[in-house]
């Protein structure tokens, strides 16, 4: 009965075979041409002159210096934004207060700011010509055209990523588990470590992965604040630009392929995260079916 009904519905909701083929064909062609080909090209051009040339390009001191600065930037930006993401999600998901929607909009704000404008803001704030920049320079602290400027610009650009993953997740999970723990006498830190963190760990991990990938690949904002000093303030994307503009294509694509690999990791991470969170919800509902507490807000 049910399958019969489903079948009829499927017929009514489907296109003639020819239309379907045209639609699938244009999807494959469009995505292949615009997404797959540029991705394949990165690796193809990087390996154009063989593995040795590829390896030599990556081992160059300037490329290694760029890699080091990029990793340092990640090491500064990701933990800070992860901490912020957890704090913001805790405040927003666990409590009711006025202006919550405004706060969420403000957290998303960096996504609407062009990276170049983001970099420009920090030059205006910390540049040698600004009051604060001049004051800091007198004390020997240089922000713009130095690594700290790159760190701050990157923090700005990756600011919402962890919070954005955690806020909806923690809202969906609800407060029941934590309230139970607290009423049974658990302290705040204990509640967080034992109850909240295990519940949100995949979302947190995925948010951090996104943050790391974006921090490694940020170009526009970092470009404005870096000053392009070779071996000192060049991150990997800036190094790619220099190599490319010097017509050293193999080297440019070799460094680029490392970043492309990172982006493939994030794409895989997304699939794993989706799978894990589905599994988590299934586990929870199986638990409820056995007579455990019912998730009231999990929707």
């Amino acid at each position: 009965m049910l399958s019969l009904k489903k079948n009829r519905a499927a017929n009514a909701a489907s296109q003639p075979r020819l239309v379907r083929r045209i639609l699938i064909g244009s999807t494959v062609l469009f995505l292949g041409l615009f997404l797959l080909l540029p991705l394949i090209a990165v690796f193809a051009y990087a390996l154009e002159q063989g593995g040795t040339a590829y390896w030599m390009a990556i081992k160059q001191p300037e490329a290694l210096a760029a890699l080091r600065l990029t990793l340092m930037t990640v090491a500064v930006a990701a933990p800070l934004n992860a901490l912020f993401g957890i704090a913001a999600a805790w405040a927003i998901a666990k409590f009711e207060f006025r202006g919550k929607n405004i706060l969420i909009t403000l957290i998303d704000l960096p996504f609407t700011v062009s990276p170049v404008i983001a970099g420009a803001m920090f030059v205006l704030l910390f540049g040698a010509r600004s009051a604060m920049g001049g004051w800091l320079l007198d004390r020997g602290i240089q922000i713009i055209f130095a690594p700290p400027g790159i760190f701050i610009a990157t923090i700005f650009v990756t600011f919402p990523l962890v919070a954005r993953e955690l806020i909806p997740l923690m809202q969906a999970l609800g407060n029941d588990d934590e309230e139970a723990a607290v009423s049974l006498g658990a302290g705040p830190l204990q509640t967080f470590w034992r109850i909240t963190l295990p519940n949100i760990r995949w979302g947190l991990l995925y948010g951090v992965v996104l943050c790391v990938a974006r921090a490694m690949g940020e170009f526009g904002a970092v470009s404005v604040v870096s000053g392009h000093i070779r071996g000192v303030t060049n991150t990997m994307p800036l190094q790619i630009e220099i190599l490319y503009n010097e017509y050293d294509y193999v080297a440019a694509f070799s460094v680029a392929s490392l970043l492309a690999l990172v982006s493939l990791v994030t794409l895989g991470g997304k699939k794993i995260f989706e799978w894990k969170s589905r599994q988590h919800i299934i586990d929870q509902s199986a638990y409820s079916a056995q007579g455990g507490p019912v998730e009231s807000t999990a929707s």
């Binding site: 239309v19 704090a87 420009a120 803001m121 404005v224 680029a256 970043l259």
Partner: protein
């Protein structure tokens, strides 16, 4: 801050909220207001003089035109892609679906050099296009190609959940009442998708307006011809023309905030539309 109704059992509101607000102010709000503060120190006439030069106007025209074209391409193909990925089963679908997020994940500079090399006259695609007399790299067409790439996920990802939620019974009813398939699509399905489609379009457009990394390589960066607004801001900075850079940056920021407002209204409309349908 007051809690509404419920008693606050959980700890940590003051600490987390305090940290959130301080961090938000330091990283986002203070830098943003610095930009507007600097811009407001210019008189309207000065701002007008900066924006009304033929070079700036050409950059605005190009940025808006190319972003609009790219968002349009994405609206058309994004609708097809989203429809196909939700409704049909075929080999390689899961891979294609995962790939849709690539423009979010791939660093813009990497996308930029890859697209430029592909579409340059010696490249895989540029060579083919050159034979029919089309030049893509270092022209406006190249800019549209790069902006299409980076805006692609927005339309697909906003449409997919909406298409998934369309009840087949609605289509069945429409067919049962004698509607042809194209009539069902045009009068029943499409109006349901329109708010999400417009949202995706606006998101892709907003992203394209601010894009820098993937465009600088392929555009050729000729003033008045292939110079986009973010690049103009960059150039002004490199020439230490801070007033000029500030004025243009502030004008673009105001535009992006207006776009954000439009997108929020569209999403609200989309949700309400959905609740009724």
């Amino acid at each position: 801050m007051k809690t509404r109704g419920q008693k606050r059992i959980l700890p940590g509101f003051g600490l987390t909220m305090g940290f959130t607000l301080v961090y938000l102010s330091l990283i986002v709000l203070i830098p943003l207001s610095t930009l507007f503060l600097k811009a407001s120190s210019l008189s309207l006439r000065e701002i007008g003089d900066i924006i009304m030069t033929s070079r700036s106007l050409a950059a605005y025209r190009l940025s808006f035109g190319a972003s609009f074209a790219a968002a349009g391409i994405n609206a058309v193909f994004g609708l097809i892609v989203a429809w196909v990925l939700v409704r049909y089963k075929f080999w390689g679908k899961a891979l294609l679906d995962g790939l849709v997020d690539l423009p979010f994940a791939l660093p813009t500079a990497v996308a930029g050099i890859s697209l430029t090399t592909l579409y340059s006259e010696k490249g895989w695609l540029g060579g083919v296009l050159a034979e029919v007399g089309i030049k893509a790299a270092y022209t406006r067409l190249g800019i549209v190609i790069a902006l299409t790439f980076i805006g692609l996920p927005f339309v697909v990802r906003t449409l997919q959940p909406v298409i998934r939620e369309i009840d087949p019974e609605v289509e069945e009813a429409s067919a049962g009442l004698g509607a042809r398939r194209w009539q069902t699509f045009l009068y029943v399905i499409f109006p349901n998708l329109l708010p999400a489609l417009l949202t995706g379009f606006a998101l892709a457009f907003a992203r394209a307006l601010g894009e820098y990394g993937s465009v600088v390589f392929i555009s050729g960066n000729m003033p008045n011809k292939t110079e986009i607004v973010p690049l103009l801001i960059m150039t002004k900075f490199e020439e230490y023309d801070y007033a000029g850079a500030t004025a243009i940056a502030a004008s673009m920021l105001v535009l992006s905030f207006l776009l954000l407002l439009t997108i929020n209204l569209l999403q609200w409309w989309s949700r309400r539309h959905h609740a009724v349908a």
